[in-house]
């Protein structure tokens, strides 16, 4: 539910409760005050009549406003006030009246004086009140609703803009978040907090990224020293047993170097140190790599089938494009069967590289770092993570699928 709906709804519920209470109280209050006023007027009227009678003037009754009669019985003096209905001969219907009837002894004669004042019918009064209040509230609600809609549209405009900015925000993009200022203090406070938060996140992320890159750099030199010295040791005439141990250390150092190199490449891709500003043909890269892979294919007795129908151009650094293709071909060899097949299909929109395999490869995981598609094959688990990163840089979509022993990776624009 939107905030505006929520506040509007609460407002309407409040109005629905308050309006009947208001109507009832206004009705009783009005009734009370009108009655008081009428009663007062009746007493004044009666007083005037009594004064007239005292001064000896003869007063005739004027039905139904007042009736004056002389009564001979020895009735007690007194007065009472009540609501009554009297037939009005002019209007020819019974009308509500407030009536003050009293017996007064004036000049030793007993008078019955009845003074009446027409009153509004309660029903009429109630109706008037209900309609007028309901009308006022209706107009009021309508006005508030439209005003709210208008004002909130303006007030929320920066908020929605900022929300979009937040949704699009990515630490990896390296762009600082740009929020629109609002006239509402709360929104501005939120903006300030958001900017502070993203800046802090950005700083932490930068530190983390630089850490990876710096760590990889620092590792390069000791690795070089180890590797160089091992290569020298291998030159000596060592007993075969020692030699194979030294070589095993050497191989591990080489693997460590490769791993480090891959991490460094990933860190650089993360740090956006490559720009993809010129178009190159992946076909050329592919052709060159297929040629370079020929001895690998021969060694593994892999049959290659290539269907290159059209030119697939992409905006990528040539170095990265080469790594993209090498990693894919390398994967296709690594997860292949002995005497298996590799098929490469290229058209202007897609490159599909598929290979035979008997591994159960988890296609959802393979593009994640250090996630290996298969438990049996030795791998750093970085090759396809690099592929994914390079594809992102070249704005290419990449997907993998495994279907009845054929593993396929598709790159598309």
């Amino acid at each position: 539910m939107k905030l505006i709906q929520k506040t509007n709804r609460n407002f309407i519920v409040l109005v629905l409760i308050l309006v009947p209470i208001a109507i009832i109280s206004i009705f009783f209050l009005l009734n009370y005050f009108i009655q008081n006023e009428v009663d007062e007027k009746l007493r004044v009227d009666e007083k005037r009549i009594i004064e007239q009678i005292m001064s000896g003037a003869s007063i005739k009754s004027l039905e139904p406003i007042y009736e004056i009669r002389i009564i001979n019985s020895n009735a007690k003096e007194g007065s009472k006030i009540k609501n009554t209905e009297v037939y009005d001969p002019i209007e020819k219907e019974k009308e509500p009246f407030r009536e003050l009837s009293s017996i007064k002894k004036i000049n030793n004669q007993n008078f019955s004086i009845v003074v009446r004042q027409a009153t509004i019918e309660s029903d009429d009064l109630l109706n008037v009140i209900i309609y007028s209040i309901a009308g006022i509230f209706f107009v009021f609600i309508l006005l508030i609703y439209f005003l709210n809609a208008r004002v909130s549209k303006n007030i929320w405009k920066p908020f929605h803009f900022n929300l979009k900015q937040l949704q699009d925000f990515s630490l990896q993009s390296g762009n600082k978040i740009q929020l629109r200022a609002s006239t509402i203090d709360e929104f501005n406070d939120l903006n300030t907090s958001l900017v502070q938060m993203t800046n802090k996140m950005d700083r932490d992320y930068q530190i983390l990224k630089e850490f990876t890159e710096n760590a990889s750099h620092e590792i390069q030199t000791p690795l070089s020293i180890i590797s160089l010295n091992l290569e020298e040791i291998v030159q000596d005439n060592l007993p075969e047993k020692t030699l194979s141990k030294v070589y095993s250390v050497y191989q591990s150092v080489q693997r460590l170097s490769k791993l480090n190199e891959k991490l460094l490449l990933l860190a650089k891709l993360d740090n956006q140190q490559f720009s993809a500003n010129h178009s190159i043909s992946l076909n050329d890269v592919l052709k060159q790599q297929l040629e370079d892979f020929q001895p690998v294919f021969e060694n593994e007795e892999i049959t290659l089938t290539a269907f290159i129908d059209d030119v697939f151009n992409v905006d990528l650094d040539e170095y990265l494009a080469t790594i993209l293709i090498t990693n894919l071909l390398s994967n296709a060899v690594k997860y292949n069967l002995k005497k298996g097949n590799i098929s490469v299909k290229v058209n202007s929109q897609n490159i599909v590289i598929s290979n035979t395999t008997n591994e159960s490869i988890d296609c959802a995981l393979i593009f994640e770092r250090f996630k290996k598609g298969s438990a049996t094959i030795e791998s750093t688990g970085l090759g396809l993570a690099i592929v994914q990163k390079i594809a992102d840089l070249g704005q290419l979509q990449i997907s993998a699928s495994l279907n009845s022993g054929i593993f396929q990776i598709k790159i598309s624009k």
């Binding site: 750099h217 390069q220 030199t221 690795l223 070089s224 020293i225 590797s227 160089l228 010295n229 290569e231 020298e232 291998v234 030159q235 075969e240 030699l243 194979s244 070589y247 050497y250 191989q251 150092v253 080489q254 693997r255 170097s257 490769k258 190199e261 891959k262 460094l264 490449l265 650089k268 140190q273 490559f274 370079d292 892979f293 020929q294 001895p295 690998v296 021969e298 060694n299 650094d317 170095y319 080469t322 790594i323 293709i325 090498t326 990693n327 071909l329 390398s330 060899v333 690594k334 030795e378 791998s379 090759g383």
Partner: protein, 225 residues
């Protein structure tokens, strides 16, 4: 050949000095820009091996000094940063080659030798090993004077072997030499057998001797013995 090694890491510097001493060159070393400038002012070098990350500044700044003090000197940049910017900047500013740490000594050796051929012999140089003669200018290989046609990779392999004769060359270093972007394919080096098999076949067919010896599953050695 006179060689200057500019490298701040003591162990690496010594490993390089020892290696090139064994190769029969007279290496001079410098541990920072200051020492390197001193050496460059004092004498002429054929090749400078230059580390970029030095304690008192970037090795790239030494390129100007080399240009103003040296007549004909090849520069090979060593960098821990596999940074394309460094590479492009280095090559633009007069460096001749670029190698990323960690590297194989044999790879460095063959590149330094290639630099010497290019600089000292102006490219007009042949590498001779017994009956084999490689002209690196027009990439022609002759065995007993007869032309042998090799592929680019086979030629590169042969030059690598001859440049590093009498040394054990690990499979890894051979694979990396053959494969420019070794980062992609690095788990199985067996494929180099195919290249080596083809090279051997061509040389033997042309009447050459097979000087390539297998070393206990480690790699190969190109030598007479």
């Amino acid at each position: 050949m006179k060689l200057l090694v500019v490298e701040d890491e003591r162990e690496l510097r010594e490993a390089l000095l020892n290696f090139f001493k064994a190769e029969g060159t007279i290496p001079v070393s410098a541990k920072d820009l200051f020492e390197a400038e001193d050496q460059l002012m004092l004498q002429q070098f054929d090749v400078v091996i230059l580390d970029i990350g030095l304690p008192d500044g970037s090795g790239l700044s030494l390129l100007d000094v080399i240009r103003s003090t040296q007549d004909n000197c090849g520069v090979l940049i060593l960098s821990a940063k596999n940074s394309l910017d460094d590479k492009i900047q280095g090559l633009d500013n007069g460096a001749d080659d670029y190698l990323t740490k960690p590297f194989h000594l044999t790879e460095l050796n063959s590149r330094v030798k290639a630099l010497v051929r290019r600089k000292v012999f102006n490219g007009n140089s042949t590498i001779d090993f017994e009956e084999i003669s490689i002209n690196t200018d027009d990439n022609e290989v002759r065995i007993n004077g007869e032309n042998v046609t090799l592929t680019k990779k086979e030629l590169s392999l042969l030059i690598y072997f001859v440049s590093n004769k009498d040394r054990v060359l690990t499979k890894e270093s051979i694979a990396e030499h053959l494969w420019e972007y070794s980062i992609g394919y690095s788990d199985n080096y067996d494929f180099i057998y195919t290249h080596i098999k083809n090279l051997r076949k061509k040389i033997e067919l042309a009447g050459g001797n097979d000087y390539l010896k297998t070393v206990h599953g480690i790699g190969y050695k190109y030598s007479l013995k």
